[in-house]
Amino acid sequence: MIALALRNLWRNQRRSATTLLAMMIGMLSILLFGGYSRTVYYGLETDFVGRSGHLQLQRKDYFWFGSGDPQGYSLQNYTELVTDIQQDPVLAPLLRVVTPVLQFGGIAGNFDAGLSKLVIVQGVDVEGQNQLRQWNDYQLAITPELLSIDPAAPDQAEIGIGVARMLQLCTQLALKDCPQPDAGSPASNAGTLSADITALAATTAQSTTASLDQSGARLELLAASTGGAPNVSRLQINRAVTTGAKELDEVYLAMQLKQAQTLLYGEAGQRVTALQIQLQHSADLELARTRLQHLIDSRWQQQPLEVHDFQTLNPAFGQITGMFSAIFGFITILISAIVLFTVGNTMSMAVLERTVEIGTLRTLGLRRSGIRRLFVSEGLLLGLTGAVLGTLLALLLAALINQAGFAWLPPGSSNPVPITIRLWGEHQMLLSISLTVVLVATVSAWWPARRAAQQDVVDALRYV
């Protein structure tokens, strides 16, 4: 039956080739977009997981209210929690990094220029954070940007390029493409900070930063300590980085965790706002979450805790992947409809042209179901051939595009992103799209096949 179907397709080479071409172009469109979407998913996931881990353990409701009260919503005894997590028999094999983070808002000031800027401070364990940033489970062609802070230098920090620009630290940080305000503009005439803040900063600097390198960029970080009293830390800025998003570049400041804790809680402060938990593989996320919830319910009842995944912590992930999924679904439906009508039309023509042949086969003793199977087999073969050739073509074109090094600037991003089509190794996507095309082609052949099978034998034999 299959051999007969194959020969029938071969018999009308031009029509079969046209149908296959339509299917291949359809497959190509779906797979190229699917491959690009996959790159975007993996890129976003790698970025978010590299910055915040797969899961974060936070004090209950920190997610909603914590940024307004980092003291009130902080984790106590976090080192014990880290030890518990690292030694848990279920979690331990899944883990890659567990690192604390203290996040709060502050005001960064450049006294020399008399400028200040609201910033979001990340107090981090540098080694843990750098390990976090090196996660690359999907083997993307990326080089992780590690923190430039020396773990042995407590006053070192790095800022976003937007913060550097606004505080006019571009020259000190030797930044290229960093615009300076025109002479006479408000920024160039910024006055000095108020005397009380200047005095507070000077006191803090004298008491804590005797070893601070006096060259390069410096700034003062003002934050509200426990009880609401202002506290200032003088920081040496190693470099200004771009996070990829302009809005984040204008508020980003990363510093040593110990220094941040001292600024916020004083010398005795041993608190953080979250534990960032990074797993070896994203696939283990649900297992790890369930286990953490179990530990929260059974062992860590002395303080209210909750666990969030990176998708909850970064709503943009869901929004972007959702948008790509919707477009992908739309393209798939559109292409499926084209395949449906193309194969349906081809099979209808075949049925019409082979009416006498249908009558002959029925006369010789082929059942109606046999006729139906014959034409459905032809649709199936068309679908299979189209799927295989379409996949091969898509893999070839994806490799060419990946080699070409095209790039584009995504909305909201400050860095161009390479256009990469990730198809090789994406077995599940390749298989599901191929099966969809094969299924649609087979279903398309069903109706003409049914019509062929229902023909009256005598009428079919008389057909001219």
Partner: protein, 231 residues
């Protein structure tokens, strides 16, 4: 004992709004291992009667019994299977499957009957040899002449050793010389295989070779009669 009994067969066709009475109350008995010709002018009902005997059409009234089996009582699938096992059919236009070789065309009825491959091959080669086309077994129909195609069609009709071979004007698309050769071939094979042949034809060569002649006119049976009387 007759091979086939045709009992009071009537058949009407709709031709647009017009009803055409193709056959009226035809009763006939076909003998085994005989060469029977259905003859009559165009529109007399020869092909209709042949189609009813072949089981590719059903009468409005009456019944066809072949080897005691009433075709009327068979479901569509059962009737199709019956054709596959017991009926051979030779078409006026040969109706070979164009994508199959001569060998595969002849083999097709055996495939439908799920005959084992080795047995199929032996039987097909035997038949191709019998029709003089052993050397053309790999040729496609479009590589064969009209006479050769009809030989392949004859081999296909006989390959599964049917009870009855039906042929609808088998020489109509052949020149007289080739037609004569085909008739001789069918006559020889019919004697060798001891199979009953029923033709529809008004070709005098065919009629001359028949054991029995059935005359039809306007859908009515004129006479099943010995050949000598009809000629």
């Amino acid at each position: 004992m007759s091979l086939a009994q045709l009992q009071h067969l009537s058949k009407t066709y709709a031709l647009g709004q017009l009803r055409v009475q193709a056959l009226t109350d035809v009763s006939l008995q076909l003998q085994p291992a005989c060469f029977t010709v259905l003859s009559g002018p165009s529109g007399s009902g020869k092909t209709t009667l042949l189609n009813l005997i072949a089981g590719i059409d059903r009468p409005d009234q009456g019944d066809v019994r072949i080897a005691g089996q009433s075709l009327q009582q068979l479901s569509d699938n059962a009737l199709t299977d019956f054709r596959a096992r017991h009926i051979g059919y030779i078409f006026q236009n040969f109706n070979l499957l164009p994508v199959l070789s001569a060998f595969e065309n002849v083999e097709y009825p055996l495939r439908l009957n799920q005959t084992p491959a080795a047995q199929r091959r032996k039987r097909v080669l035997e038949l191709l040899d019998a029709v003089g086309l052993a050397d053309k077994s790999n040729h496609r129909p479009n590589q064969l002449s009209g006479g050769q195609r009809q030989r392949v069609a004859i081999a296909r009709a006989l390959v599964h050793q049917p009870l009855l071979v039906l042929a609808d004007e088998p020489t109509a698309n052949l020149d007289s010389q080739t037609g004569a050769q085909i008739i001789m071939l069918m006559r020889d094979l019919q004697r060798q295989q001891k199979t009953a042949f029923v033709f529809s034809s008004h070709d005098p060569q065919v009629i001359a070779s028949a054991d029995h002649l059935v005359l039809l006119k306007d859908g009515h049976l004129q006479s099943p009669q010995p050949l000598q009387e009809a000629v």
